[in-house]
């Protein structure tokens, strides 16, 4: 049995190709049954996310397995073979194991360290289990991938710091304030990034939400979404006295909040700290506000700067993670080795024992009646000769070896064993 991974991801295929090959919704269940029925593979799992489509398979022959799976993909999605050939990557054996570990631990993701992929992989595995498309090898490999991913998450900082602007803002807020749930928050304007950050804040427990916008209708819409109160745009400055976190993103071409205004507000607040995030370009909040005590002002560039440092930090941690992956591949290979070698070893032993027994009994008959002690001595002689002869091939089989499969074939041929795999 050989392990095979065939797939494509955001690095090898553009979105136009990925969406053609994606198994979305009910298609996935259908596909996995079809693939099982086609007898191209012995075991299989299909993973389909917006960034990757991969088939993990256990096949008896690698080359025909690759052909079979490619054919299956082309037929199922009705796409050209050459289009697939251009985008697909193929990993075999140890490389396949490495790939699976890397995918599970998010080392192969667009954003290294993002946590979703592990959940998606588990879902894919659950579906495979439901349809009984996996066996000993993939079950073990999948469980191992999950544990490798967990090990990497606890031992490295790969998923530690924020790598998106909105999460970086939350991370900062958590280091300025003790407990976000008791803080109040104002959203000035709208915009994708600002709304995302607002959502994260609310997920962190912020309840007291104020929304202001030049267009009242838009403000009301957002207030409803975030369960907040609308504040008239003309007088939002008055509300700052009770606001701990401000996210600002308007299309205004000038500053809408000045240093003097915040200076006054801070006095009214008795210097209670304030965190202001200005996502607007051009900036809407006077940058010098950051010079005031207990006010922390971040603009897009400074958040971006943090995100970039964090990404570099993650890349450094990814090296550590790759080393863990390497370590873990070894242990899995050992397991598969023992798995393939064991039946042959058992068959070899049985064969030898059979011969020994037959020859021993034949000799006993020829020799006629004898003392018990002598019989025992002869039996001992046969056993030790057989053991000595069998010992070297079994040790070689047990060891991890590149040519293990060939060796197994040779031994089977030499000793005339036609045992089944597994």
């Amino acid at each position: 049995m050989n392990i095979l991974v065939i797939g494509l991801n955001h690095k090898t295929a553009p979105i136009e190709v990925r969406e053609k090959v994606a198994f979305d919704g009910p298609k996935l269940g259908e596909a996995i049954k079809l693939l099982k029925g086609s007898h191209v593979v012995k075991e299989s799992i299909i993973l389909s996310t917006c960034n990757r489509v991969e088939i993990y398979a256990g096949v008896s022959d690698l080359d025909s397995g690759v052909e079979g799976i490619k054919g299956f993909l082309a037929d199922f999605h009705k796409v050209q073979r050459d289009l697939l050939d251009r985008s697909l990557y193929i990993h075999k054996g140890a490389d396949a194991i490495r790939h699976m570990y890397r995918v599970a631990s998010s080392l192969d993701s667009m954003v290294v360290g993002e946590p979703q992929i592990l959940g998606q992989l588990k879902d894919a595995f659950d579906l495979a289990l439901e349809n009984k498309t996996t066996g000993v090898i993939l079950n073990k490999l999948m469980r191992k991938s999950v544990s490798v991913a967990k090990r990497i998450r606890t031992e490295t900082k790969i998923a530690e710091s924020a790598v998106s602007i909105s999460f970086a803002a939350i991370e900062l807020a958590k280091k300025i304030f003790d407990d976000l749930a008791s803080k109040s928050f104002m959203l000035i304007g709208a915009g994708e990034m600002a709304e995302l950050a607002a959502k994260h804040l609310i997920n962190c427990g912020v309840q007291d939400v104020l929304v202001t916008n030049r267009t009242i209708a838009r403000a009301e819409e957002l207030a409803q979404e975030f369960h907040g109160k609308v504040v008239p745009f003309e007088s939002f400055v008055n509300e700052l006295q009770h606001t701990d976190i401000v996210i600002c993103s308007t299309g205004a071409p000038h500053y809408i909040l000045l240093k003097d205004q915040v200076h006054k507000t801070m006095k009214e607040r008795k210097q209670k700290p304030m965190f202001i995030i200005d996502i607007s370009v051009p900036r809407n909040i006077e940058p010098q506000i950051n010079d005031l005590d207990n006010v922390y002002l971040y603009d897009v560039d400074s958040l971006q700067g943090i995100v970039e440092t964090n990404i570099q930090e993650r890349a450094k941690e990814a090296d550590k993670a790759e080393r863990i992956v390497d370590e873990e591949i070894g242990s899995f290979l050992q397991w598969t080795a023992s798995l393939t070698a064991t039946p042959t070893i058992v068959a070899l032993r049985n064969k030898a024992e059979e011969i020994r027994k037959a020859e021993f009994e034949k000799t006993l008959k020829k020799l006629g009646p004898m003392e018990e002690e002598k019989i025992k001595a002869i039996e001992y002689l046969t056993i030790s000769i057989v053991n000595k002869l069998i010992h070297p091939p079994t040790t070689v089989l047990k060891e991890e070896n590149e040519n293990r499969d060939e060796l197994i074939a040779v031994i089977k041929k030499l000793y005339g064993i036609n045992g089944e795999e597994e």
Binding site: T156, E160, S161, I176, M266, Q271, P273, N290, G305, T309
Partner: protein, 275 residues
């Protein structure tokens, strides 16, 4: 024999505090994800020896061992450790030990320089006021020492957030609000303790010498310390001197405490001079 055991216990405590300080400093620069507990365990080991040392001195002398500079300084650092453990277990502040253990070690190291003999308390001073007065005074000073350590942590974290270059310490240090609140709470603990120690001192002085206040240098500097912390609290409550300003003030305040503690006893002599 007793004395030798005692010296040994002190040296062991000092050694453990030294190793804990080094381990705490390494922890600051270690790029690992989780803060290790090594520093805490080392300081606990040192604390065990230290406690034994103080207990023996207490039994030998028959009173709280603060009658010479060696004992007083050692007792001071012991009080800081008690407050440190309380805060460590209550708030689990990342890296607290890295900032407190150096203070503890430096105090303990100063203690090791002074002569170590156990002296009897002069008859004039024998009164139950003695115990009450010194416990208030030392716990008060220990609160200010903790506030200083927390203040330094605040300033580093504040620098991180203001400068927009998040150092390795950013993740490990607690939030600004947490640090500011604990700093404030330590000052509000230290200030009444200092006040109480001054009141009990005054009453005791009257019963021992017949006068309440004699402008002895220690008394003067205690008053100065008291005024400084009164100002810290006043500014915080009225003018919102919190955060960075409060952190800086708590460091300055502790510098004055240290001067009142060592400087007054060594440079300006008075009746609080122990030797």
């Amino acid at each position: 024999m007793q004395i030798e055991t005692n010296v040994l216990l002190f040296e062991l405590a000092l050694t453990f505090y030294f190793i804990a300080t080094i381990s705490g400093i390494i922890e600051i620069f270690r790029g690992e994800k989780n803060t290790s507990k090594v520093t805490l365990y080392l300081s606990m080991a040192g604390f065990a020896f230290h406690t034994a040392n103080i207990a023996i001195r207490y039994v030998e002398g028959g009173h709280i061992p603060v009658t010479n500079m060696h004992e007083a300084t050692s007792f001071f650092s012991w009080c800081v450790l008690i407050l440190f453990f309380v805060h460590e277990f209550k708030y689990k502040l990342g890296l607290l030990s890295s900032f407190i253990m150096p203070i503890v070690f430096l105090l303990m190291f100063s203690a090791s320089i002074f002569p170590r003999e156990i002296k009897a308390l002069s008859p004039v001073l024998q009164s139950y006021w003695f115990g009450i007065h010194v416990v208030f005074a030392f716990l008060g000073d220990a609160s200010f020492a903790m506030a200083c350590g927390i203040g330094i942590m605040y300033l580093i974290q504040e620098r991180n957030v203001k400068s927009k270059h998040l150092s390795m310490l950013f993740q490990k240090l607690p939030s600004l609000q947490t640090l500011d609140e604990i700093n404030y709470h330590l000052v509000t603990l230290g200030f009444p303790l200092l006040t109480l120690s001054m009141i009990t001192g005054v009453i005791w002085a009257n019963s021992a010498w017949g006068t309440y206040w004699r402008w002895d240098p220690k008394e003067v500097w205690s008053l100065i310390t008291w005024l400084v912390y009164a100002l810290v609290l006043h500014l915080r409550l009225t003018s919102g001197w919190r955060g960075k300003k409060a952190a800086i003030l708590s460091i300055i305040g502790f510098a004055i405490v240290i001067f009142a503690f060592f400087g007054v006893s060594i440079i300006l002599k008075g009746r609080h001079v122990f030797m």
